[in-house]
């Protein structure tokens, strides 16, 4: 995998100067490379990895499995596009296996999420069934462990 992309996906706050040192490439080359990734849509944005469990009143998160009747020609794309337009929806994936689409949905309360599923998702044409799982605790987010102890674990030893 591209080392630059890997580094940015782990920590997007690294400066071009730091990346240039780490990868042993000139800074302007790194900057141009990043620009190209941004322009081509490979890099879509930069976000912080937040441990929402630590943020008061940050709401609830649910994973929702959807079974969908695929449409002729368009398959699942059309319905996926309709779903992703809702701002409550954080991610939409097409899956292989027992169901078709997997969503993560954010809401203020469990009731909010339930209402969203009942009113918008379950009622949508082509959706055959839904299964909603509420998230209880986050252990790891975007490759970052959220339970890391501050302790290094290594002893000061000669």
């Amino acid at each position: 995998m591209d080392r630059l992309l890997q580094l940015l996906s782990e920590n997007s706050s690294l400066s071009t100067e730091q990346l240039s040192m780490m990868l042993g490439e000139p800074e302007d080359y790194i900057a141009a490379q990043i620009k190209e990734y941004e322009n081509s849509g490979i890099i879509r944005g930069y976000q912080a990895v937040v441990d929402w469990d630590e943020v008061p009143d940050s709401g609830v998160m649910a994973m929702i499995e959807l079974k969908v009747a695929p449409q002729q020609q368009k398959g699942f794309d059309d319905i996926a596009e309709r779903i992703l337009a809702y701002e409550e929806v954080e991610t939409v994936y097409l899956m292989a296996g027992a169901y078709d689409l997997l969503l993560t949905v954010k809401g203020k309360t469990i009731q909010d999420v339930s209402a969203f599923v009942a009113k918008h998702l379950a009622a949508m044409d082509g959706i055959l069934s839904t299964a909603t799982h509420f998230m209880l605790k986050r252990y790891k987010e975007n490759g970052v462990s959220l339970i890391d102890s501050k302790n290094d674990g290594r002893e000061m030893i000669v």
Partner: protein, 388 residues
């Protein structure tokens, strides 16, 4: 009771490690950003840990043969063939030890005695000098220099040889400088060694951590040197297996036989579980080494670049996972520099003087830490320098 007279004079006279003294200060402080630890931050690869666990599940909890499992010796010998083009007999020229440290100790005790002189290039790992003293011999220190990339030169070697010189220790890739010895350097050293009929103890524990597209060259692979070299290596650095305590020595059969004799009396056999894990590491661990080396290499470039950028001249290290920046421009001694950095910014480095008097004016910085940790530390060192 006063134990002064009860303790052997020989052990009382050995100086405690300079790193130890500094670590004692660090240990008393909270929230220290340490760049001082000399072991991998990676955990042992999972498949290697699994092999250890599987051996325990099967109840393989007995001693191993004194010199180590046959399968392990066979894999070690294959590793040295595959990586460094050397041929050893697994049954006669290999012994598995408790870390590289034990191998260094027993090799010294087998090779030198009272009246013998041992040449030790410095700055280098803290154990060579005391272990030489404990073996009864006399350490003769050779100061390597930044302008020589901390390599040992044949001239320096010649200058320190006397009729009593018996052994040369070659600690490359080097802790703390990150210096390496390339083939041409070793060939020049080998000429002097052969001319004076010396033996060599080559501590190659960091051999797999050689960067910039360069490959480690073992001094034993230089023409005529295998018969006069004891190679020390182990699993700690290459496979992130420090806590398993496993190393080995390769060398001429008569020397290894003596080392096995000593080893069987003081150790019996190296840890059994660790030996099972090490077999797995040698058989299927080449990719793990590659992954870790690439990661260290990236950190190395980052740290060296950052240090030079903030005005601390840093010799470009090509091995191990340390940088050894020169701090003479600050006007501080290496111990003052480290103490003040620790007090004002809570960043812990190791004074270069802990690795020999010639390390004065330098500090050791380990980059065996995550980029996030290193980025923060570099920022704090930069602030510290500005405030000086």
């Amino acid at each position: 009771m006063d134990y002064t007279d009860k303790l052997a004079q020989s052990i009382r006279s050995v100086k405690p490690s300079g790193i130890r003294r500094f670590f004692d200060i660090v240990n008393e402080m909270d929230h220290v950003i340490s760049l001082s630890v000399g072991e991998p931050d990676f955990q042992t690869p999972w498949h290697v840990r699994e092999a250890g666990i599987a051996s325990l599940e099967k109840g393989k909890t007995w001693y191993t043969p004194n010199r180590g499992f046959k399968e392990l010796c066979a894999e070690i010998v294959k590793f040295y063939k595959r990586k460094y083009h050397l041929t050893y007999s697994p049954t006669e020229e290999c012994v598995v030890t408790v870390g590289g440290s034990e191998a260094i100790d027993i090799a010294l005790r087998c090779l030198v005695t009272r009246g013998d002189e041992v040449l030790i290039p410095q700055p280098s790992f803290v154990c060579y000098e005391p272990l030489t003293v404990m073996a009864g011999a006399t350490p003769v220190l050779i100061e390597t220099k930044a302008e020589d990339a901390f390599r040992l030169t044949p001239q320096q070697l010649e200058e320190h040889i006397t009729p009593n010189t018996k052994l040369l220790i070659l600690p490359y890739p080097n802790n703390p400088t990150g210096g390496i010895m390339e083939r041409a350097d070793l060939e020049a050293i080998a000429e002097v060694v052969k001319k004076h009929d010396l033996m060599v103890l080559s501590d190659e524990i960091y051999s797999e951590l050689t960067y910039g597209g360069k490959k480690h060259v073992s001094v034993a692979s230089i023409d005529g040197m295998q018969e006069r070299t004891v190679v020390i290596n182990g699993f700690s650095k290459a496979y992130a297996m420090t806590g398993w305590r496993l190393g080995y020595a390769l060398g001429p059969a008569p020397i290894i036989a003596m080392m096995v004799k000593l080893h069987q009396f003081c150790i019996m056999s190296a840890p059994t579980t660790a030996q099972y894990a090490a077999i797995e590491a040698l058989r299927h661990g080449d990719n793990d080494i590659e992954t870790m080396r690439n990661e260290y290499d990236m950190r190395r470039r980052f740290v060296v670049g950052s240090l030079n950028d903030m005005g601390l001249t840093c010799f470009n290290p090509e091995g191990a996972f340390y940088c050894f920046p020169c701090i003479k421009s600050t006007g501080l001694s290496s111990e003052e520099f480290c103490t003040r950095l620790l007090q004002s910014k809570h960043v812990a480095l190791v004074p270069g003087s802990a690795f020999g008097d010639c390390g004065e004016g330098y500090v050791r910085l380990s980059y065996s830490y995550s980029i996030k940790h290193l980025t923060r530390a570099m920022q704090l060192i930069r602030e510290f320098l500005k405030e000086l």
